[in-house]
Symmetry: C2
Subunit: 397 residues, 2 copies
Amino acid sequence: MLRKNRLFTPGPTPLLPAAQAAMASFSAHHRTADFRALFTRVLADLKEFIGTQNDVIVTVSSGTGMMEASVSNLTSPGDKVLVLSAGTFGERWIGITKAFKCNVDVLSAPYGRTFSFDEIRARLTPDVRTVFVQATESSTGTRHDIEGIAKIVRGNSDDTLLIVDAITGLGTTHLDVDGWGIDVIIGGSQKALMIPPGLAYCAVSDRAWQRMETTSSPRFYFDLRKERKAAAKGEAAYTPATSLYAALGAALDFIRRAGNGNLSDGRAMLVDNAELCAEMTRVAVRALGLKLFSASSGAALTAIHSPQGIDSGQIIKEFRESFDAVIANGQGEMKGRIFRIAHIGYYDYLDTIGILGALEHVLARCTATPVEYGAAVRAAQEVYARVSSGKRQLIEA
Amino acid sequence: MLRKNRLFTPGPTPLLPAAQAAMASFSAHHRTADFRALFTRVLADLKEFIGTQNDVIVTVSSGTGMMEASVSNLTSPGDKVLVLSAGTFGERWIGITKAFKCNVDVLSAPYGRTFSFDEIRARLTPDVRTVFVQATESSTGTRHDIEGIAKIVRGNSDDTLLIVDAITGLGTTHLDVDGWGIDVIIGGSQKALMIPPGLAYCAVSDRAWQRMETTSSPRFYFDLRKERKAAAKGEAAYTPATSLYAALGAALDFIRRAGNGNLSDGRAMLVDNAELCAEMTRVAVRALGLKLFSASSGAALTAIHSPQGIDSGQIIKEFRESFDAVIANGQGEMKGRIFRIAHIGYYDYLDTIGILGALEHVLARCTATPVEYGAAVRAAQEVYARVSSGKRQLIEA
């Protein structure tokens, strides 16, 4: 059977056609009025998409580049920082803060779980200058309670910064950035924004901009103050990835249309969409007798235990070979034990039902257990029918 | 929920991404060596795709334009012609042959049925100069037995031409053009070739080229001999739709790759793919208690009776509003009575299972009958599991 390349990975995610078209046709030079207009509009739209009054900075980098920027701009060697880590991306915070010679305290939660508020309170001594956490830990599918964590951090000291990696969190979970007092929130282009990798973005609070005046960690390419200064003139400090800006402009236009002219409503609809895809997937997975890996699954992706005795690599291989569908293996020590199906970004009903139907064939081929065809799909359909009966949401591509 | 625009119509069909990219980036002028090379390659590839040694002609037109070309080039006013008609597209042959003042005999079969060989034999007197028929009647989903019809025509007289509209037949049904003695076979770009509308093509037998020397119907734009002469120099007689040629070149490359370097094997794989999508759809439709409209359904599309008391327009509206999925209503007097789901071209497992899942919700919303979610999908999955267990076909986009 014909097989279309199908991404069900938590980034890169399926591309928005309007963004592909914009990207393919864009060729303006970056030091021109045309590009400055696009650049300025994209930055303003990103503020609205994130839902913040804080200044937004975009870098040509992966999300990890912006994670590094938040460390190199906001810490000095020897700073006491607290990293909340419950997976591979939490461990990335540890790696970066150590590389920049912070005095790193780590509060770990087991993979697939989130943090105890009491333990956070116990670790959050007044001398902790910065707290680093994920909104969604993409390696396990776990959503952390950023509202609750922010309350604790803000209650600690006005001097403690909260840095949130929301690379898979933005557009899959509600985040009141300014209301909760998040000092830096980080996103990436290849996630809910439905465009290719290559751009990362963040919103920076006044408190964090002030901190940058005193920090001494080395930075040059990722110097956020330099980018802020350039952005005030409608430019990037260094050569921007022009075609990706064009794609981003088109994606933000799409999200605004989906929100009937309002980018934050468009973002809320993306969150609702991911929530529905995730709920359909969770009930389908349970209907097949499989177990979810995370105790508090978010909507960005669903992590699923591989069936007893089956390396999850086999599941992933079978998806690829039979359906050209790319789903994600576990990372680090979870490799081989779990597989992950993403819901972040550009997925509709047909995609979701299609991949769940495919999952039934994959299990039938990989395991000795007989699979009742249609069981997972039916469970997902019942969720869809219930949710969509009340309202018919109109997000058109 | 987010809704992607999903075409399930028997043309235009979903676009091949590689063809979209080729189309978007192409800008060569048509009177250049670059375009001549593309033009010549596309014509040679189309011969291999059709599976013929006959010369192929491409026109900038819809398929109907090429139907007209076959009439205006191959008939003279007063010619006795036989039209085999069993639907809207059979009726189009009647309209065109009458417009060109042929002496038209019509053998009709009821909508949804095909022709009796005995009746064809009875009508096929030696003075019939040309026979017109569809390979697949797209308005009803019916496949006609072109091999059997060709045998009768070839047995009638060497002077009787057989003209086959295979606009939805090419790439969904096996056609041995030269072996069966089809004089003109007609295709369109927006069908199995997976590119937008705008190009039509045909292969013309030596017998038909000879007939053109003596026919007197008026023609200018569609003068096939003029196009043949221009094609020998790598050109079109009039300005060709350059970007569509670029798309066609990319589509034919894709089909060749799908056939491991062989275009006719690639075409056979497209036929197998459509057959599997069609079989999955037929069993799913029956599992829902719905009835097929055609007594001999082809693989291009499936026509389905609307449930008792429901105008099929409601079904179509519900598909569009809930899923942004476009399926086809009946045409002419079948409008409101049937709906049609296409399988021609670029569809994979996920598309097929997705639209069948959607069909269950559409029925649940449009009818009073309770729908057992998953029943249609399960029936389709069982077909897929049976067919795909033996071989794993590798057609990659």
